[in-house]
Symmetry: C2
Subunit: 413 residues, 2 copies
């Protein structure tokens, strides 16, 4: 037991010592080794084309057309079905992706460098709400937006980041927590704060007026712009926590729409998986739970670092949006997460809980002991390809992943 | 009694029906009739040079030099002392000003139009924190910044507002309340939100890159930028509530550093004044209560419309900043204000109080009956001219103003 405690203390120290800085935006194929032609990365633990859910197949087809590997969605489906696309989890390549999380070589990815440990992580840019590739949208409007992101937005942010020397992220998150963001389903504060930080550098490096104005409008009109930033930051923060002997701290939680998987520090890269659950949430007008796809995405890296559902106390307004009840319920969600975490973040505090630190470092021993599983704030995709987001809700990580992981950790130590 | 109730219902309806839009920025002398050479407007009820506190005299001297009516601060003092400057309250000219609130003809003022009632209100632009004219700062750095605001910032915002057709303010405030702003001592959310709304228009109307970048940096680096916007909005919202026969609703609260004054709808433009109180707050390093000037500024228009101290429940983080206690205390400040107000704002809600509306329309009858006076979040100026802000705190409106006003209202009805 002493050795687990010591290992977990080391894990927490590494989380709190992280110095994540958003440093650049580059085409994924340029910076992610092995992301070649006919290779796609996806959210969650490994999954084959045959097992993939509707929206993930939709996103695959869209991205295959975007990359020019097929000329229609049907042709793209055929290509995937006949084994001509290699699929791998984002997490195996230092990357993360929201919802379907499809990452391909031409898409620009944000790069966060953890300056304390020297590692880097990658994530695509957020496309906005509604019918978007991450929710399985794949029509012309969706692909045209991705092309604009590739040729206009990505290079502009890259130039701006070079101009301003990168953007340190921990302070923005600390402020966001005092501004109603929990950073999974609510990112309006951090999206606004990072825009105001980037805007002068965007001005100094962009030449064409209307193009610059459209970039400021796109970021300024997308309240979830920061979601992908917090995700890539989360990956950069958690990767150095991997493989601490004996540590029972969760280093990744991720869902592929079919399975939920976790990775634990003391068991390295092994995935412990279980069928994924349905979110319990609120639906946009015209949709209901019969339309919903099971839970999906790498965005649970947000909860892995103590935000999202764990920081619900920061965001009473999100409780209503995801159907999690009143402002008191929001506080109680966070209070419960203290029971399954190893510590409190000294820099990220919750004003409504009198500035207690966010509950950080999910300890699989505590999860199994208390029977309390992590609470996750999530978007809900339509179960069919091509439609997009239909709601938002709460989902719980399946206990089975944690019991499996604990058995494996026990067997190792 | 029925007639007071009916009158107060009418007052509330006018407050809630307001449609405030930030429409332009112009030199004050161009849009405020009577703001001529050697005329200065100040915060609070009427006050003569002889009665003025240190920081207000400091601001007067600075602005007299800025206007070119004197070539040194000493000469400016002489000019004021010998009766060569006419002083009037901002409130008498449809204007408001934070702290010393000195408004002069060359300074640019923001114009908010209340499109429901057709009236307009005016307020200077926020200069940032620390040593600034509104806290009595008046050296070269302070005056140079005011010149930059006059020649660069003001015209740029004017052009941007024309380009985007003005900015409707009620929605920004509704969002800000779910983002930790109470809009008196905390405006970081609304400052960020209005910047992201203005930024594309600033880009479309500004020609010079470095000048545009410096404007985005200035606004983006000033977490209190929105304070002056909410103040001018407050004035535009409350002016149509003036002079409703029999109404006991407060239409203005303002302090000149010497006296606290209120105006009440049913008694029109009459001021009911009392010696101003000392704020109870927290001081910046190196300063303490012996340095503090008594309470000052027109910014109490923020509480008059149900924000600031009245909306403390929105801003647990501000409670610490002003020394008002824990997050529970923040909720309790707001709960107490429901006892002295006529209604709840249906559009401005408080997530932490399960989306109850902000307590709106201070009723002098209820104040006198309950013995509860309005709570105000305020900045604290150094009592000597030329130094600036030394802290922030809470202050209570003096009961005497309300008893006087109630007697006068009773005598009229």
């Amino acid at each position: 037991m002493v050795s687990i405690e010591k290992a977990n203390r080391e894990a927490l120290e590494r989380i709190f010592a992280a110095e994540p800085v958003l440093v650049d935006v580059r085409p994924a194929g340029e910076v992610i080794e092995g992301l070649d032609e006919h290779v796609l990365l996806h959210a969650g633990p490994p999954v084959s084309w045959g097992q993939m859910c509707g929206p993930m197949r939709g996103a695959v087809a869209g991205v295959v057309v975007l990359e020019g590997w097929a000329s229609s969605l049907e042709e793209a489906d055929d290509l995937a079905a006949t084994g001509n696309i290699a699929f791998h989890p984002n997490h195996h390549f230092g990357a993360v992706g929201p919802m379907t999380g499809i990452t391909s070589r031409s898409q620009p990815v944000m790069i966060v460098e953890n300056r304390k440990f020297g590692n880097r992580a990658f994530c695509t840019l957020n496309e906005g709400l509604g019918k978007v590739i991450r929710f399985g949208g794949n029509d012309k409007e969706v692909l045209d937006r991705l092309r604009w992101i590739r040729f206009t937005l990505g290079p502009a942010i890259s130039d701006a980041l070079e101009n301003c020397g990168g953007i340190a992220l921990k302070g923005i998150i600390a402020r966001g927590l005092s501004m109603g963001d929990e950073m999974h389903q609510r990112n309006i504060a951090c999206s606004s704060l990072i825009l105001r930080e980037m805007a002068p550098a965007l001005v100094r490096t962009s030449r064409e007026t209307e193009c610059l104005a459209s970039i400021l409008e796109f970021i300024g009109g997308n309240d979830q712009f920061f979601l992908n930033v917090i995700m890539v930051m989360g990956k950069a923060v958690m990767d150095p926590v991997n493989s601490i002997e004996g540590s029972s701290i969760v280093t990744a939680m991720a869902r592929n729409g079919t399975e939920f998987g976790i990775q634990v520090s003391g068991t390295g890269d092994t995935w412990f998986t279980s069928p994924v659950e349905m979110p319990d949430g609120l639906y946009f007008p015209g949709f209901s739970e019969v339309d919903a796809n099971p839970d999906m995405g790498d965005s649970t890296i947000v909860e892995t670092i103590g935000l999202g559902g764990f920081a619900m106390a920061a965001a009473p307004a999100v409780a209503g949006f995801v159907g999690a009840g009143s402002s008191t319920d929001a506080l109680n969600h966070t209070r419960r997460m203290y029971e399954i975490t190893a510590g409190k973040n000294p820099e990220w505090t919750l004003p409504a809980l009198d500035f207690q630190g966010t509950p950080t470092g999910i300890d699989i021993c505590k999860v199994v002991e208390t029977g309390i599983v992590p609470v996750i704030n999530t978007g809900i995709a339509h179960k069919e390809a091509g439609i997009g987001q239909v709601g938002a809700g709460i989902v719980r990580a399946p206990m089975e992943c944690f019991t499996q992981a604990l058995e494996a950790l026990a067997a190792k130590t």
